[in-house]
């Protein structure tokens, strides 16, 4: 399936604005052809143009991790990437992790261990944890603490986050 989304036409120009570019992204399994301005970040594309507001903005400067999404399975800060840089890539956001009603093991573990309070950092934490598990580097709780430190939780739910990621890690990689 594919949809076309065009940003609002900009009308007559007195001061030059950058022309739109056409890119193709696969977002949560759906291929989309999009016309975007080159200055639109991947984060703003998701939130403001595609109504995928699950991905959060906490700083817009790569300092908090709230905007973490998966690009071809690797976690990135979507605020630090222009949408046009991702042409041809596969993006997974928090909205794309569950299979229908069945939550991803990381999502399930976050609920079980109350790995959040306000929930605002949570989509980023969860995408980051999925990326971490894909990386296969974390073996211990201390590894998790270190490798999840790019995701700030101001509510301070770290104890629950570490417990949740540990549980999901063992579930997703049973021989670890």
């Amino acid at each position: 399936m594919s949809t076309n989304v065009t940003q609002q036409p900009l009308g007559d120009v007195a001061v030059a604005l950058p022309p739109l570019e056409t890119i193709t992204l696969t977002i949560n399994g759906t291929q989309k052809r999009l016309q975007v301005a080159p200055w639109t970040s991947l984060l703003d594309l998701l939130r403001e143009y595609l109504d995928l507001t699950g991905t959060k903005k906490g700083c817009d400067h790569g300092q908090c991790g709230a905007c973490t999404v998966l690009v071809n399975g690797t976690r990135i800060n979507s605020c630090l990437s222009l949408a046009v840089m991702q042409d041809g890539n596969e993006i997974t956001t928090i909205e794309g992790l569950a299979k229908g009603d069945e939550l991803h093991p990381v999502q399930e573990a976050f609920i079980e261990h109350d790995g959040f309070q306000c929930g605002y950092c949570t989509p980023g934490q969860i995408c980051s944890a999925v990326g971490l598990i894909n990386e296969g580097k974390a073996k211990t709780a201390d590894d998790i603490r270190e490798l999840m430190s790019g995701n700030i939780c101001r509510c301070g739910a770290y104890v629950g986050i570490v417990a949740a990621v540990e549980q999901a890690l063992h579930k997703c990689q049973p021989n670890q």
């Binding site: 699950g54 817009d60 605002y120």
Partner: protein, 741 residues
């Protein structure tokens, strides 16, 4: 039917699924066709005047709809009182874009509205501003003289002295005095302040606002813009953290509503992380504590004085020193609290305002005294235990602090603590143990709630309160479900909408006590109606019973303990020929009863730190936090509240400081890279204990509130542990490594 007793049982957050799937929507996430974007322009100077503002380049950019500045923005209300909100201190109110005058750094001086976020942001950078700058004064310590804080209708309780502290101090066998200071801090919730104002077809406004009280935002907007409540509905189903920052409407709300009305378009204004440092903060305070004691550690005199900062236009007060008159038994207490006006924005309540900073200094002083008299710091605290609140001269409604000390110490292994500083080490790491006491208020406010039970056994309960991560959804669902004997999934709790019955601001740790009591009462009112119908069912086993003799369990009403006697809710309502029962109640605290008692939560915090001898790096390895907070309604979310509080305490003790450049009067580290908050790697073992505490006075639920108590005491306990590890006393927060080298 699933279990229907819920209170005190660990349950998953009812909004958990929405939060882990991205379905939970926050104020900036309500999209609507034709939405426009406002971007705030912030002042470059802290004090002075705008002499020229030129928006012509910005306006010529395609997609820009308007640039509002003080030159063209409307001034919808003149009087200060129109700008008042439920948490505003005494003084003049800041009115965005009303004049050319600059009163604080990063003051909003313009709003660009465009049809995309990127264009608005770019256009904002094209607006040229010229200023006539004056020298700001932002340094509290430069001239540490203040004036008395105003009292009256502010809700501020001035500190009361007792006995003769000066004399008792002079005559005391042991004297100790020290000065303490801490830097300003910013709340920095993860979600930035945002308002999405949707102009509906009939011209009414639907406002999604980041706030800890939709009713507060609504009052603010309707007063300023002369609207009726119907014309300005405020909604906020989820809030990405508040910590007090959402107790006052922030300027993006004003700007978004103003622009929406002027342009007749839907507008969203989101602040940037930098702009999150342009409104309230935890004020810096400079404190002096003097303690006089006998040789065996009995307190003879306490003096605690604090100087806090406030803006030039409002007198922000918080309760910093009163705790020193409540924590311990002492006949001679002298307290002083002063303010100094600086060229910053008005400070704003931040998690356990006043208490967390006052107690940080005072509990450090108590620790210092323990070394002076050579008594274990825990023993010293027990020796001076306050049996009643000597500040108010009232008994406590309940106080299980002794149990906190005992259970916390046992869990921590405090008995094994060597008295001497620098006596535990592992290689190059010095190890230290510290303890501190915490205290906060247990308050109940007037609150309303509505309950609607339908004949299919589904219950919908609502109140305009907020869930800022605190677990309100979950706790209220549990209270409602238990009152009517329903499973959790039969109950929906609605909040954050001004069409719901009015709740107080979500803050001060009073939400469970206030809204929870209202929810209980509304559900009980429904229960009484069900009971009446159940009695009238043909051959009802309840016919002779009174309401006090029955209980609601597993979807039915039955004689207490008699599972064979019940009439199901559905059966009763069918017999009563109603499709639903709806009750709305307003619950007031029982002031007559409550006023006779001091109502407080208490905690004992035990901490182990490790300090790198060569690098000064501090790691908090272990924390045991023992809490006496009355009845725990929802253990899982309650534990998270305390864990979060402890993390805040660690962050406050070791990392957080908003650094002012006094030359520019500006917070220099206004981003999350330079304003450090605790990250995952900073947090290790945290153990939470809730001690048993029964309280029939505080409110009908017996719950005292847990939002603040978790943070109080943590910073002092950490500082005390650092001293025990290193022999070095740091009296300035945060304790960064440079202060140890």
């Amino acid at each position: 039917m699933a279990a229907t007793t819920h209170i005190g049982r660990s349950t998953r957050r009812v909004d958990g699924r929405a939060k882990v799937t991205g379905e939970a929507k926050y104020a900036a996430e309500f999209n609507t066709p034709g939405l426009t974007y406002g971007y705030v322009i912030s002042s470059d100077i802290a004090k002075g005047k705008i002499t020229k503002i030129d928006a012509s380049d910005a306006l010529s950019l395609p997609g820009v709809l308007q640039v509002f500045t003080h030159e063209n923005a409307p001034r919808p209300a003149y009087f200060d009182r129109k700008f008042k909100d439920d948490d505003s201190p005494v003084g003049e109110k800041f009115k965005p874009l009303y004049s050319a005058e600059i009163q604080f750094s990063m003051q909003p001086i313009g709003l660009v509205v465009a049809d995309s976020f990127e264009v608005a942001r770019y256009a904002a950078s094209l607006v040229k501003v010229e200023y006539k700058a004056e020298t700001p004064e932002t340094n509290l310590r430069k001239k540490p003289k203040g004036h008395k804080a105003p009292t009256g209708k502010t809700g501020f309780t001035p500190p009361k002295s007792r006995g003769n502290a000066a004399k008792a101090y002079k005559n005391a066998e042991v004297q100790f005095e020290a000065e303490y200071y801490h830097m300003p801090e910013h709340h920095n919730p993860m979600e930035m302040f945002a308002s999405t104002v949707i102009v509906e077809e009939d011209g009414k406004l639907k406002i999604y606002d980041k706030t800890q009280g939709v009713a507060n935002s609504q009052t603010y907007v309707t007063n300023i813009f002369g609207l009726s409540k119907e014309e300005a509905r405020v909604i906020n189903p989820y809030m990405g953290g508040g910590f007090g920052s959402g107790l006052r409407p922030q300027y993006q709300l004003y700007l978004a509503v103003m622009a929406a009305r002027e342009l007749n378009r839907s507008v969203r204004v989101v602040l940037t992380r930098e702009q999150m440092f342009s409104f309230g903060h935890r004020p810096a305070t400079l404190q002096t504590v003097s303690l006089g004691a006998t040789k065996d550690g009995l307190l003879q005199a306490i003096k605690h004085e604090a100087l806090g900062e406030t803006s030039r236009f409002e007198e922000y007060t918080e309760v910093v020193v009163n705790w020193a008159g409540m924590l311990y038994h002492c006949d001679n207490v002298e307290l002083g609290y002063y303010l100094r006006n600086l060229d910053t924005y008005t400070p704003l309540d931040m998690r356990a305002p006043g208490s967390v900073t006052g107690i940080a200094a005072f509990e450090t002083a108590i620790d210092e005294l323990s070394y002076k008299v050579g008594i274990d710091p825990l023993e010293l605290r027990l020796k001076n235990y306050a049996e009643k609140n000597e500040f108010e001269g009232k008994p406590f409604s309940s106080k299980e602090l002794r149990a906190c000390y005992a259970q916390g110490a046992a869990r921590f292994g405090w008995a094994k603590r060597p008295a001497q500083p620098r006596s535990m080490r592992e290689g190059t790491k010095l190890i230290g143990w510290g303890v501190a006491t915490g205290m906060w208020d247990a308050q109940q406010q007037k609150s309303a709630a509505k309950a609607n039970l339908s004949v299919d056994g589904k219950l919908v309960v609502g109140s305009s309160t907020a869930d800022i991560g605190t677990g309100t959804y979950t706790a209220m669902t549990m209270i409602a479900a238990e009152t009517l004997g329903l499973p959790l999934d039969a109950v929906t709790f609605k909040l954050g909408d001004t069409t719901l019955p009015v709740a107080p601001l979500e803050g001060g740790s009073w939400t469970v006590a206030s809204v929870g009591s209202a929810v209980k009462e509304a559900c009980e009112a429904v229960a009484k109606k069900v009971f009446k119908m159940a009695k009238d069912v043909k051959d009802s086993p309840l016919s002779g019973a009174s309401f006090d003799e029955v209980e609601f369990v597993e979807g039915k009403v039955q004689l207490k303990g008699d599972y064979s006697s019940g009439v199901s809710i559905v059966e009763a309502m069918r017999a009563g020929e109603v499709n639903f029962i709806e009750e709305e109640t307003t619950t007031m605290p029982n002031m007559l009863k409550q006023m006779q008692y001091a109502r407080n939560t208490h905690s004992a915090v035990f901490v182990e730190v490790e300090v790198d001898e060569d690098l000064g790096q501090i790691c908090v390895r272990r924390v045991v936090s023992a809490i006496a907070g009355g009845r725990v309604i929802s253990p899982k979310t309650a534990r998270s509240q305390i864990l979060g509080g402890v993390v805040w305490g660690i962050s406050m003790a070791l990392e957080e400081e908003s650094v002012l450049d006094h030359h520019f009067g500006r917070f220099m580290n206004h981003n999350l890279a330079e304003y450090h908050v605790a990250v995952n790697a900073d947090i290790h073992d945290i153990d939470v204990i809730f001690v048993e505490e029964h309280d029939d006075i505080v409110n009908p639920l017996g719950a005292k509130g847990l939002g603040e108590i978790g943070i109080v005491g943590v910073a002092a306990a950490i500082g005390n542990a650092v001293y025990h590890a290193t022999g070095k006393r740091v009296r300035e927060l945060p304790i960064t490594l440079d202060k140890l080298l």
